[in-house]
């Protein structure tokens, strides 16, 4: 049925091999970019076919494991290269290949003239390959391959401008933080495998098998440990507290990379993983609570930092962290479908935002370059008034901003509202729900604020670069703009496939297609949760739901209003505010000094310990003992060697003496 699904990751792999091995010889940018984009287009086509096939099946049969070959077998352990086709993986491959394709197209324009153009496309294709492995893998190990693979590509692409030290540092940081997450992932996988095998004789790492046997698992206990381990993996990959600091730094990479990897696809892998293993997570209420709390905290915390950043990409990066927090809030609330839904809409509008910011940076960079200015092309303080210069970019950017701000009618509204409602109404966390909802709502307000702050600073007001440079600002080429338009369109309409029940009922019973579509994946879990709800299924009135929805919209509008007031009407207020509370501003601007804290707590002690172990233990203690033994032997030899005077007669004396004594002993004994 799905026999050709292995083609989906294969095309980007081929693209990677062609571009990676021959790209240097090809030289022609169009060909290289064409190969890269075409490979992804092929994958996209196959993905479309796959999802159509899937949709043609009845709900219960929408599940297939396609084995390609056996990877490794050892005793009771078996890992295949095999792909899992179900609604969840299908929606993911659609997002990945679809958005990925648009970003490939965009990159052809954006990366034009860059040194190592082929390298960029090779990495990008390698990333697509890894990401598709991640979402398609039917077992933990294959998922882990993709999981690490995307981490690698992220490392390579962040460090794309490797001659910049900051880029290298950022890449390394991303990789290492991801590795911390991987550590959790591995431990979780080991514990799960061992626990299932040892206790229930189910030696498997395949998701379907694990899901089938999940009913054997107890609630809480070991499962909490396992799920927390997995969640550690997710925090690394999806930039949640405490492992989020790599994502803002990752903005050192080229902007398409930020859009593809650090907004639309890779960072959502953690969310996807929790969705994929929902059968496990629901069996640990404690973990769900941890996830929800961490998600909400991240959403709020990152949003606060976002308000004070001046680098356009960093604002978007913190926004991404914050939005990922929402997704985890959804996952932690047991609303898996809502989380995945937000994942999708976020992919659309955040990709659009990043690509739009890329277009702005691209344009700014050229303008500044023309006048030989060394001003930062990414600093919003240098921008302003770009509305008229880049109308199409502005329009698409604005649409996406409205979507992320959660204005009704746009995709972000539907998904975000669903999450907030689920956070409020879910039966798991009791009183904590109100707090979670509150944090989410405040974060939504902050999101609206900083996103519109960004829009106002960038596109409105006076242009703050030199007039000479201003003349060189112009709209980007079509190859850049078309993806923007497509993505903006998706940000607007993408939400309508998942209209919340409340609104659906209002408009004559439009069903929530998306939730319905994902139902085969999450149904068992939802039933289980309904049975085991810790606090009983609460029945909230329709009015309450309307009220909450209204409140969040109002909060968002207030955020926009403040941004308008501060950055359009009276632009002196922010400066005054900064002057009044310098410490607060400094703390927020410096990201609450979390990086410094990590340096202080982890990095430096590690290095110091390493240095101590080397110079202190290795050299002094171990080698001290070794060399000490040598010295003892040598000094003993030093004493003994005086017996060897070098004079022949001394030797003859000892010889004669020896002969006499020994002979005497034998003769007279």
């Amino acid at each position: 049925m799905f026999d050709n699904v292995w083609l989906i990751p294969l095309f980007p792999l081929l693209g990677f091999l062609i571009n990676g091995l021959l790209g240097k010889k090809i030289k022609n940018e169009t060909v290289i970019g064409g190969i890269g984009a075409f490979a992804v287009l092929c994958s996209f086509a196959v993905s479309c076919m796959t999802i159509l096939k899937l949709l043609s099946l009845p709900g219960e049969e929408r599940l297939a494991n396609v084995k390609v070959f056996t990877w490794m077998t050892c005793g009771n352990f078996n890992a295949d290269i095999a792909f899992l086709i179900d609604p969840l993986s299908c929606v993911m491959i659609m997002i990945v290949t679809g958005v990925g394709f648009l970003i490939h197209i965009y990159s052809i324009g954006y990366m034009h003239g860059e040194e190592g153009f082929y390298r960029f496309f090779a990495y990008l294709n390698l990333f697509m390959f890894s990401m598709l492995l991640l979402v398609l893998g039917n077992n933990l190990l294959l998922m882990f391959v993709g999981w690490e693979g995307v981490g690698l590509c992220s490392y390579l692409l962040i460090g794309y401008y490797f001659h910049k030290k900051s880029a290298g540092d950022a890449g390394k940081k991303a990789f290492v933080m991801n590795r911390v997450g991987d550590f959790g992932f591995l431990l979780g996988a080991f514990t799960l495998y061992w626990f299932m095998g040892h206790n229930f004789n189910v030696w498997t790492i395949q998701f379907t098998e694990l899901g089938k046997n999940a009913h054997l698992l107890p609630t809480g206990g070991v499962v909490t440990v396992i799920t927390l381990c997995f969640f550690l993996g997710a925090t690394g990959k999806s930039a949640q507290i405490p492992l989020y600091t790599w994502l803002p730094d990752a903005m050192e990479g080229p902007t398409p990379v930020s859009a593809l990897i650090h907004a639309a696809t890779m960072v959502t892998a953690g969310v996807y993983m929790i969705g994929r293993m929902n059968f496990l997570f629901i069996r640990s209420p404690e973990t769900l609570m941890v996830i929800a709390v961490i998600g909400a905290c991240t959403a709020l915390f990152a949003a606060t930092i976002g308000t004070a950043q001046n680098d356009i990409k960093r604002v978007l990066a913190y926004s991404t962290v914050s939005q990922l927090g929402y997704m985890f809030l959804a996952m932690g609330s047991g609303a898996f479908a809502a989380g995945i839904f937000h994942l999708m809409t976020h992919a659309f509008f955040k990709a659009c935002l990043f690509l739009g910011s890329g277009a702005v940076i691209h344009s700014m960079h050229h303008a500044l370059h023309h006048v030989h200015s060394h001003d930062d092309a990414q600093d919003m303080r240098n921008m302003g008034g770009l509305k008229s210069k880049m109308p199409l970019t502005f329009l698409t950017f604005l649409l996406a901003t409205i979507a992320i701000a959660g204005i009704p009618g746009f995709s972000g509204f539907f998904s975000k509202d669903e999450i907030l409602w689920q956070a409020f109404a879910n039966p798991h966390h009791g009183q904590l729900n109100y707090l979670l909802w509150g944090m989410g709502a405040v974060a939504a307000g902050l999101t609206a604020f900083y996103m519109f702050r960004l829009v106002f600073m960038t596109f409105f007001g006076e242009c703050r670069i030199t007039p000479k440079a201003k003349d060189h600002l112009h709209e980007s080429p079509m190859v850049i703009v078309i993806p923007l338009i497509v993505l903006a369109g998706l940000s607007v309409v993408g939400g309508y496939i998942g209209i919340p029940k409340l609104l659906g009922d209002l408009f004559g019973g439009i069903p929530n297609y998306f939730e319905h579509y994902l139902e085969p994946v999450f149904r068992l879990s939802e039933e289980y949760m309904a049975e085991h709800a810790a606090h009983g299924v609460a029945h909230h009135s329709v009015a309450l739901e309307w009220g909450l929805m209204g409140t969040s919209v109002v909060i968002a509008l207030i955020g926009i209003g403040i941004a308008f007031a501060l950055y359009v009407v009276n632009t002196s207020i922010p400066a005054k505010f900064t002057a009044t509370f310098p410490a607060l501003h400094r703390a927020v601007y410096n990201k609450w000094y979390i990086d410094e804290l990590y340096d202080y707590v982890f990095v430096n002690p590690c290095k110091a310990l390493g240095r101590f172990l080397w110079k202190g233990f290795d050299v002094v203690v171990v080698d001290g003992v070794v060399n000490g033994v040598a010295k003892v032997v040598m000094s003993f030899g030093g004493i003994i060697r005086y017996m060897q005077s070098g004079f022949v007669y001394d030797y003859s004396w000892s010889m004669a003496f020896g002969v006499v004594v020994i002979l005497g002993y034998y003769l007279f004994k």
């Binding site: 060697r641 060897q644 005077s645 070098g646 004079f647 022949v648 007669y649 030797y651 003859s652 004396w653 004669a656």
Partner: protein
């Protein structure tokens, strides 16, 4: 013919004198001569026993010992000359490189 034991005793005395010489003298050539003396003492033993036992093998041995002594004299004296060329002395006290 004299008693075998007398010959052997003479030989032992000569051998001991040679030993004392080797141990106490510091002139390499004198030491060398003392070694010759010891060799001769042994030769005497050989010949005395050979005669006593009626077996000529001992005498042939003496012949070989003499050959060795001759070779030794040639090489040993050459060594001394070489040494003297370097050190202007043939005192064994001046030779102490044979260590470590």
């Amino acid at each position: 013919m004299e008693n075998l034991n007398s010959y052997l005793t003479v030989s032992a005395i000569l051998f001991s004198i040679g030993t004392i010489g080797v141990l106490t003298r510091k002139n390499a050539i004198v030491i060398f001569m003392c070694i010759e003396l010891m060799l001769n003492a042994v030769n005497l033993t050989f010949i005395a026993l050979s005669r006593y036992l009626g077996n000529l093998d001992g005498q042939v041995f003496v012949f070989f010992v003499m050959t060795v002594a001759a070779a030794e004299a040639a090489v040993g004296l050459a060594l001394m000359i070489a040494f003297y060329n370097n050190k202007e002395s043939i005192d064994v006290e001046d030779v102490n490189m044979l260590k470590w």
